[in-house]
Amino acid sequence: MGHLIRLEFIKYNVWNFFLAGLLLNFSFALILVLFIISISPGDMRSIYPSYPDYPFFTAFITTFIHLLIIVMSAYLQRHLIVSEFKKDTISVLFSTPVPRSKLLWAKLLLIKALLLVFSIGSFFFSLGALALFNYQLETITVPLRESISWTDALRIFVMFFIVILISFSTLFFVRLRNGGKMMMLYSGMLAAILFLPLNAPNSAGILAHTPVAILLFLLAGILGIFFLISQAKRKN
């Protein structure tokens, strides 16, 4: 499988993805800085009493990364899977002795690995940028080490993993005529529905905090993977 993933690296210019990720991270770091400078703590304390603290910004950062995971997953799926079907290069791959399911698993594992690296990297980058900025301004008084434990970090990384799986529900669109565009549209909607407080200001809660919703979307993501694999095993 490692060999097949390496071949995917040759076909797809992964450095473009990392470059895009880096640019997104710098942009987000800038948003964080603007957030801290422009919003007065007094205003925020009416809805979040302990503002500003690291748990608040950690939640803010992870929500943003969750949104990015879903959109970037659709972007990667479009480039690594949909384009192969669209250009019909997939039929060249299917004519090789490698089982079709293995070929697709290699693509899915690569997407998963890239997103995991991107999400964890972004988490540390954003938190690092925030800590660095706070070192100058001293806005947040409780130190980072006392605010977030490694257990919290692990819980956040597990959630990244789950969100990556959820993002695979876009795979239901792979074989459709405008599958790539539909994937991007669906991923945007999915990200908004799951991670944005659509009912604010009446309710600032997000759907992703409901275990049932997460389980249902997780099931959709897993079914999306098996849908793609079963499509490849079809008679044509």
Partner: protein
């Protein structure tokens, strides 16, 4: 020659549309076999079925190897195919495309990549990105991809269209050499029989997703060379006389009054004499040259041989 691949009444429907209605043919090991048919006759679909890219809905396709019978999909390691359009990875160079493909076969040899590119006249463009290639160059690279790992069975879909005459000649020579010296079994599809009549051993005629006839190239040439057209008042009686009095069996009844005789060993006056002697009125008689499409139209009206 032993049978290498055999299709028995295979059919295929895509999106409720029957693409292949009845595919029955045998391809001999070590031979060059051509499937000839007009546009939309189902040539590409036949090749997809024979290489295992598609599986038939009905009927079966069997590949005979040393272990016994298997399906083409199980033996894809032994099949080099170029089917439909020359699809390549545009951001990769010509040699990288071949390198990538060989990696999927678990085999890589820089010399075989170089030889593959040289064989199709692309050695000087080995490092150029295929996005800059013309259609003819892409097609030759796709052909190289099918050939460079030296598989025992090569399948090429309409390999000559889009190539200039010199390139066509070059590819034709390459295929002849592969068949002669490496005993590669070659299966081609083409809309134009003249592209393959000089080197294919056998030809299958395909029309509307049905195999009409399989015959040697010589036999097809003979059938297309000329025939005697007869118009009589009673075709059934005339065929009785042809079979019994003149021992002619190679003919085709077109309708109640028209017969085509492909066996031109008898002089026309002898045929006319015998028919008239049998009390049948002769309305019209002449020699005619037939093109392939007209021949196939006639063949599809009768039972496949």
């Amino acid at each position: 020659m032993t049978v290498f691949i055999k299709a028995t009444h295979a059919s295929k429907t895509i999106r409720k549309k029957p693409i292949i209605k009845d595919l029955s043919l045998e391809i001999k090991k070590g031979g060059i076999h051509a499937i000839v048919g007009q546009r939309l006759s189902g040539k590409t679909a036949v090749l997809k079925l024979l290489t295992g890219l598609w599986l038939p809905d009905r009927g079966e396709i069997t590949l005979f190897d040393q272990q016994g019978t298997v399906t083409p999909r199980d033996q894809s390691v032994h099949i080099g195919a170029f089917i439909d359009q020359p699809v390549l990875y545009d951001r990769l160079s010509a040699s990288e495309n071949l390198y990538l493909f060989s990696q999927y076969f678990g085999y890589y040899d820089i010399k075989s990549v170089e030889k593959g590119l040289t064989d199709v006249g692309l050695r000087d463009d080995a490092l150029s990105k295929t996005s800059t290639f013309s259609f003819s160059m892409k097609k030759r690279l796709a052909i190289a991809r099918a050939l460079f790992l030296q598989p025992p069975f090569v399948v090429l879909d309409d390999p000559f269209t889009g190539l200039d005459l010199a390139e066509q000649h070059h590819i034709r020579q390459l295929l002849i050499e592969l068949n002669t010296y490496q005993h590669t079994t070659i299966l081609l599809s083409t809309p134009d029989v003249s592209e393959v009549e000089d080197f294919a051993h056998t030809i299958t005629l395909l029309r509307d997703g049905r195999t009409l006839e399989t015959m040697s190239t010589l036999e097809l040439k003979h059938r297309l060379s000329s025939f005697i057209h007869l118009n009589v008042d009673h075709a059934a009686k005339a065929t009785f006389i042809l079979e019994n009095n003149l021992n002619i069996t190679d003919f085709q009844v077109m309708d109640l009054q028209t017969i085509r005789i492909y066996d031109t060993s008898h002089p026309v006056y002898v045929i006319v004499q015998e028919i008239v002697k049998g009390g049948i009125q002769m309305n019209e008689v002449y020699h005619k040259q037939l093109d392939l499409e007209a021949y196939m139209a006639g063949t599809s009206r009768r039972e496949p041989r």
